[in-house]
Amino acid sequence: MGLDNSITKPYVRTEMVPQKAPPPGTVGPRKWLWDNVFASMLNFTTVGNAITSILMIVLTFGVIFLAWWVAAVLLKFGWQDAIFTGTDGSYCRPEDNKGKVPIGQNIGACWPFITHRFGQFMNGFYPEPERWRIYLTYIIGAPLIAGLLIPSIPRKGLNSILLFVAYPIIATILLSGGNMEIAGSTYIFWAVVFAAILITLFAVEKLTDSKGLFAAGGKVVIAVAIAMFAILFLLDFDFGLEFVETSRWGGLMLTLVIGLVGIVVSLPLGIILALGRRSQMPVVRLASTIFIEVWRGVPLITVLFMSSVMLPLFFAEGVSFDKLIRALIVVALFSSAYMAEVVRGGLQAIPKGQYEGAQALGLSFWQTTNLITMPQALKLVIPGIVNTFIGLFKDTTLVSIIGLYDFLGIQEAALQDTAWLAPTNQMTGFLFMAAVYFMFCFSMSRYSLYTERRLHTGHER
């Protein structure tokens, strides 16, 4: 009976025992702190480990102190001692200098200097009633750029044509006012050039017995000619906008203009140069290589300097460009040399089988490039392109050295205003500019990292 009883009532738990709390120090913040901070500095088992630990202690606390100190200085300057309201420089000047700040009080950042001149920092000396044109340019450009950058948005081809062809023309007309009074002789000159090319094509077809050359080449030439004349006509057309000289452009807007012109010109030019450097034709290869290496070998400031003192000597008497256009030319050429190397890297990464497969299908060189290799290569090098653009964006600051009022240069102009004389204006401006540049470059670098991760999912370990 007793046995029966033990079988019917076995000593088995029917419900789970509640889990015990883990030993202290193996979970939660203590564990995290131990693993990530103290594990490296509390190991005294051997002499070597002890030395490493002591070094880590010194280093960790040194680094904490340094970081705290930098943060404290920045906070004290930018916030604690800063002046946030005021209508002129006297709010940021000490009393012994005709100011309103009591003697003995520290003067930090003078933010009214920035807020008061915010329009100038953004737009330079662009006339105020016309500034809507700049904002409109931004509003048109933003969705185009976003459409190209966000992978899930379709119609990349149309988008890039709009951004790389249509948008620059619209932006030029909006920002400068258009109505450039292009001489009639310019139209005639280009008409003659296109006619000459057509005649040459026709003659070559007849002389070398190449059927279809005139029909195929002629289509391209006529399409280019129509586009060319349309652009000339648009730039010439009077939209009723006031003309704003480029010398009045400035601030962040000028920085963006230089950066965008750089990228818009350098991408196609860089692609051509990269193809040229990989070409089978020795002359083309040599010319592209020399071009790329020379531009990459010299600092941008040298070529900007060249643009301001040497370029005027290069052109025939009477032909002159304004300072901005000269700077734009060299910035575009400079960045296309860098872009060419980025694109070349992408082309080299395409497996040879792709080229051979295309050849086996009987595709021509341009068909292979346009349909097979270049799309793959460009996709591969998006991070590289973005990084080049970050470099270009930072490099646009150099135009302030040759006297353009870009985002960096505009402050020098702003500091000349006697109504706003105050001791900390310049540093405030620097802080502000550093923050803006950081914002732009950091977000671009995040984007580049994001694409890199998206493209390299197969390599994750």
Partner: protein
């Protein structure tokens, strides 16, 4: 019956022959380039004649008539334009070499710090890298320059930095070593010591490969390089003196300040440029180092651990040699970048090759010649760098088998 022949069946028109097409397009390209050059040269010559600017490099021999705030060789107002340009070139070398050394040290430290298991260190290193590499270098140079000028005491007083030297707005003044007659013996000793250390290292590695026995060649080499010249220096009767900067604190206010020409001075322009270049370039070097170390397969570390190597030895003998192969090519291009970026010195008035060249250009009006000279200087740098890189890549691919 049809036969298959090697000959193309129809006559291919000339235009569709790839060889003819490539010939034609190359001839057109040559023509365009030649025409462009011709137009450039004739326009330039015409414009120069119109503006009455003499061309040629004769102007380098004429008197410059301006002073430069820093020169490593003897230079004053009576020197020539050519000499001024040389001063600029040396100043570029000067800031570039010191900058490269410091940026490499800082960059490696930060790169390793970013991989540290210590959260505080890796996070601070990340913030440093992300912030400084995303702010334009020119802005950084100008900010450092203004900060230095703000912090430094006026010309008539001075402060001290960590016992290294005294500083005020004229710069950081440090003692200077002046070699006297007979110092050349020590100079030769330095060369011999370096050669000796190199030979010892070679002998040690050969012996290790042959017998497996190790020899502390690093410490031995260090001892030779430091010891031998010191020994020779004292044996030849210490031919050299240390000159301390002199600060005049007595007399009329206008006379006070550091005595010019006594001791060695780092001018504020140089320091600001150096700080900015080092801090900026180090962020890029840190990223290269981090990527290089991460590129070494984890299996390598594990295998080395399985062989019983200690952590320090794993790093030194397994990880770093393999990481270096990935690190060095981009590292050289960062060195080149630093050298090219030193041309931004112009913005704060440091007389490097661009700055001094700019002054010569303004004074003499010889724009074409000066710009060509400056470009040749930088192109030579980049050519030398790429020659080195090709040599290094060739050497490394041999090691790789």
């Amino acid at each position: 019956m049809t036969t298959i022949s090697d000959e193309p069946s129809g006559k291919v028109s000339l235009w569709y022959d790839p060889r003819v097409r490539s010939m034609v397009s190359q001839v057109i390209l040559i023509g365009l380039i030649a025409w462009g050059f011709y137009a450039l040269v004739t326009n330039t010559i015409h414009n120069l004649e119109r503006l009455k600017i003499a061309s040629g490099f004769d102007f380098l021999g004429t008197n410059a008539g301006f002073t430069l705030i820093q020169s490593l060789i003897e230079y004053d107002q009576t020197a020539t334009y050519g000499r001024a340009f040389m001063v600029g070139l040396l100043n570029t070398f000067y800031v570039a070499i010191i900058g490269i050394v410091l940026a490499t040290i800082l960059g490696f430290l930060v790169g390793v710090a970013r991989l540290s298991k210590n959260w505080v260190i890796s996070r601070v290193a990340t913030v440093y890298v992300e912030v400084l590499r995303n702010i334009p270098l020119l802005l950084q140079i100008i900010i450092w320059y203004k900060i230095l000028l703000l912090l430094a005491p006026g010309k008539r007083e001075f402060g001290n930095i960590l016992g290294i030297g005294n500083f005020n707005i004229t710069g950081l003044w440090t003692p200077k070593f002046i070699a006297q007659d007979g110092f050349w013996v020590t100079g030769i000793a330095i060369v011999i010591a370096i050669a000796l250390a190199w030979m010892v290292a070679r002998w040690a590695s050969k012996r290790q490969q042959a017998t497996g026995q190790q020899f502390p060649s690093f410490w031995a080499g260090l001892a030779i390089v430091i010891g031998l010249p010191l020994l020779v220096f004292f044996a030849t009767g210490s031919p050299g003196i240390v000159e301390h900067p002199e600060f005049v604190s007595e007399g009329s206010m206008l006379r006070r300040g550091f005595k010019p020409g006594v001791g060695f001075v780092f001018i504020p322009e140089f320091l600001a440029l150096l700080f900015a270049l080092v801090l900026y370039t180090a962020t890029f070097i840190a990223e290269i180092v981090r990527a290089g170390i991460l590129a070494v397969d984890h299996g390598q570390t594990e295998a080395a651990g399985a062989l019983g190597l200690r952590r320090g030895k794993i790093l030194r003998l397994v990880v770093i040699p393999q990481a270096m192969r990935v690190i060095i090519p981009p590292l050289t291009s960062q060195y080149l970048n630093l050298t090219k970026n030193s041309s931004l010195a112009m913005a704060i008035g440091y007389p490097d090759v661009m700055g001094a060249g700019g002054i010569v250009l303004n004074q003499s009006g010889q724009a074409v010649e000066i710009i060509i000279m400056i470009m040749v200087v930088y192109l030579t740098f980049s050519l030398v760098t790429s020659v080195f890189m090709n040599w290094y890549n060739a050497k490394m691919s041999l090691v790789e088998r």
